[in-house]
Symmetry: C2
């Protein structure tokens, strides 16, 4: 309900003020409460609006078991299950090139566990590289809020090291060496296209 | 329930035999009972296995409302609704190029109704063309089992004609003139990549 104080000033409930404050503070990059996925979606919306690139998150794949069709209303799914994706989450086009990536985050401060990826995704990345697509992962270290772009060819090397009996993670040193830090921005928030431009000489 | 006849021969219910018969007959291309979507999925699987291209159908987008988490079992979605897709159904990569398309069929023998597409998809196609992606539609005339590849730029012209007050469909003559007939094959079934190769000089 909206109403005014006797002095004509509009009453704003305290809760809203808190929310507003948080909104204003959010660009401090600390405790923003934004997930990596939200930041990427907002980045992709920006790219789309500005005609920079057309990249979308794929819908979550579901196994639908039961659907009801009530009269005069929309079909209701009454039973469904989450399925494991056979591809990565994001793909699209930039300057005619196929772009494909996955985004993951870890609370671990010193290394990125490879269990964040699954076999199907790794196989998909191999296929994309064979087709000369541009494929990478965005890796976020939650504690330090650092985001790195690591090209799929490097991820595949570390995955192979694990399969050959080596460590089950990529050290942060390795990510700093082979990957590319993406500084958080205002618009776009995670400007991964800029890195792609640079890495693939597309500008 | 599985059980054996007294002579030890396994009992197979009659229904299964009927299904088997249908399967053996399906390559006659008449009344196969295969949908366009199934044919495209099998084509894409073939492309993937043969390292020709990596093209996938996007999962159906759903609005999930309620999820149950029973103890010791997988999460069950108890209430969800179908959402209108904001993109086309298929995308992927071929020789580094971004490929994007939608597939539709009609029972109409003489024209293809434009109501098969919706605004969001048309807008998406415009965006893909701006990004130099390869974008098209596969149009199937069910009665004659003919499939045409029509490049998005032509579809957009016919869409504009409709918006300007013109006809709400594309005549079959127009599709024959501006589109490209894809003969049905065994493997791959709908070899749209061959047409793309030819149209964009990619081989």
């Amino acid at each position: 309900m909206n109403f005014n104080y006797p002095n004509g000033k509009r009453y704003i409930p305290e809760k809203k003020e808190t929310i507003k404050l948080k909104k204003e503070k959010k660009w401090s990059y600390s405790n923003r409460g934004m997930t990596l996925e939200e930041d990427i979606n907002i980045t992709n919306e920006y790219y789309l609006e500005q005609n920079i690139a057309a990249i979308h998150k794929k819908p979550t794949p579901l196994q639908i078991v039961q659907v009801d069709y009530p009269k005069r209303s929309a079909a209701v799914i009454k039973e469904a299950y989450f399925k494991q994706a056979s591809t990565t989450d994001y793909n699209g086009v930039y300057k005619g090139k196929y772009i494909d990536f996955e985004a993951k985050e870890t609370q671990n401060p010193t290394s990125f566990p490879l269990k964040n990826f699954h076999d199907h995704q790794i196989k998909h990345m191999e296929t994309i590289l064979k087709q000369d697509g541009i494929c990478f992962v965005l890796l976020r270290f939650s504690l330090t809020e650092e985001i790195f772009l690591l090209e799929a060819q490097h991820l595949l090397t570390f995955w192979k090291r694990m399969e050959d009996g080596g460590r089950k993670s990529i050290t942060k040193d390795e990510i700093e060496h082979f990957g590319h830090l993406i500084p958080l921005g205002y618009q776009p928030r995670i400007d991964y296209i800029k890195k792609i431009d640079y890495l693939y000489r597309l500008s």
